[in-house]
Amino acid sequence: MIAPDKDHAALANEFNKDEQRVDWHDETLWWVRQKRDNAVKKLPEWEELREAGSQIKNNVLGNLNYYLQQFETNAKANGVHVHWALDAKEHNEIVLDLLLSKGINKIVKSKSMLTEECNLNDYLLDNGVNVIDSDLGEFIVQLANEHPSHIVLPCIHKKKEEIGELFHQHLGTPSGNSDPIFLTETARQHLRETFLARKAALTGVNFAVAETGEFVVCTNEGNADMGAHLADIHIASMGIEKIIPERKHLGVFLRLLTRSATGQPITTYSSHFKKPRSGASIHIIIVDNGRSKQLGREDFRNSLKCIRCGACMNTCPVYRRSGGHSYHSAIAGPIGSILAPNLDMEKHADLPFASTLCGSCTNVCPVKIDIHDQLYKWRQVIVKNGHAPLAKNAALSVMTKILSSPVLYKVAGKLGRLTMKWVPLVVNNRFNPWYKQRELPEVPKNSFGEWYKKNRNHESKDK
């Protein structure tokens, strides 16, 4: 979707041209990660809570067919319309049909990563429907004609001066004013008119409760509610994995979600929509778009437990220093790199390699997804299917040959050590991506094999 002709490494390279910005991006996200740590430390039961969240989600995956039907039955009994979409195209068509049937050509949206995944905005625009994103961060990236670079902090890649300039161009604010309070107030006034005028609102769904047919939407700004309560029709888009079994389980997830995301104890608003208000209607669109396929992949189905908190991105050393857009996928970072190859393995073959496999993501994930293990497994699947990224492919095919031949392995090791020692430029050049921002370790004089042989000989002599 963004510069599809370039892979993660190339896009990260571009991001890295502005070193100061990269440092700032890195530090800002690390600061968010630290806020998460502080919030988590205050809860002695945090690990049990994560375990409970993980187990509830495991239960959901094992009974998803049943819970989806239970949710549908209860939602319908509450007077809510339920639609089903197999893919992004069907989802977008349902939204458009709903709007056209009511003669509506303007819609206000709150944050929904699913509609990003479906490219809904472009589709609606092409069909003559005006879309305004009301979450401030999304509003900003929309003005900039970009996509969110982070699932929780959509414009984390932008400096306030750039935002001030965007507001100057589009909303007529004085040039050079980049005060966050002033800019937020401007957006507030501007969007208030929008909320009051729009007859249709679209929101995402954080959790959908099978037991009651209600769904929960979490925001800090109050934009989802402003949209939904002022519109005649509220469309809520959800992936099939958003289901949770019972209302009381919300207690677990609402405690986990925002502490993991930003270190807040809860979002400002956690709104439970159960029935439409009188004179208005609610339509839920339940979307598959590859999720049932992921459910069938034993090694990767756990990724469907994700509650989209963004903690794995904030902690990821690669994400922090390459920026969300380098992942060229609606959902960036470690979890995005597991979800994207399921949709299109060839197009996203580079993403599971955009990781150091350090495991920090797995450590912070509130629902205990084995993120770095899955990244490692995707690499194997991708290579086996012949989709390995070009540079890695060349290196890997050499590796395969060497590893499968003991003689070659020994020679290659010796050559490698000699190369590093005498001609480091060969290794330390721009064709070798591993050398970027890395110092190579001092070269050992012997290989492990040589060392072992020598020492074992000593040993046997001693005996």
């Binding site: 049990e48 239960n59 995956l61 309070i181 937020t184 109050g222 677990v252 049932s292």
Partner: protein, 195 residues
């Protein structure tokens, strides 16, 4: 086959074995000083707390903070002499767009995160706690529970049409992570805490 049936079939074919639901036993962790915790958490996230002994004292607050021309509304019949009572009959949400200050009440507040739980019954109009410029909620100290599990225990099977946890004023940090209060909803949130 309809998309619905096709989707459900694909899910049935691909879903793993059943995994039992865990027991959730986080009820009432050692949070003894509920009111203190509630006040500390709420003020740390931008909310304000005013301790009162009875509802009459709210009038003093109004006189101090608002002008005569400001539109002040409430959903609490007991204070209708100091604020315009929002009628239970449905009024269009747009009619509330010029509300400066709204006072609502609740029967459940949560110490661990400073949130209050309100439903359509208590707010009358869903838009009210969002569209007003400033929001106040009357909380009785004995209605504060320790955490979200206790809150859902209390909510039980209540058949509301709409309900929401509200924790502080609306806010955003989307511009360079600088916290700004008053995003799209209220600019301030005050709790009148009856001790």
């Amino acid at each position: 086959m309809s998309s619905r049936d096709e989707l459900l079939k694909a899910v049935a074919e691909n879903q793993p074995m059943n995994f039992p639901l865990p027991e959730i036993e986080f009820l009432d962790s050692e949070c003894i000083y509920l009111a203190e915790t509630f006040i500390n958490v709420l003020t740390s996230i931008g909310g304000a707390v005013v301790l009162i002994e009875n509802l009459m004292e709210i009038e003093t607050y109004i006189l101090e903070k608002f002008k005569k021309s400001d539109r002040i509304v409430t959903t609490i019949p007991a204070i209708k002499w100091m604020a315009e009572l929002i009628p239970a009959t449905s009024i269009p949400p747009h009619a509330l767009s010029n509300v400066d200050f709204a006072i609502i009440d609740t029967h459940c507040a949560v110490a661990e995160n400073g949130a209050v739980w309100v439903t359509e019954k208590g707010i009358v109009n869903r838009a009210l706690p969002f569209i007003c410029q400033h929001l106040a909620v009357v909380v009785n100290a004995r209605d504060i529970v320790s955490n979200m599990h206790s809150a859902y225990n209390l909510i039980g099977t209540d058949d509301y049409g709409y309900g929401t946890f509200i924790s502080g004023p609306s806010k955003t940090a989307d511009i360079e992570q600088s916290l700004v209060l008053g995003a799209h909803g209220p600019r301030s949130m005050t709790i009148f805490l009856i001790m």
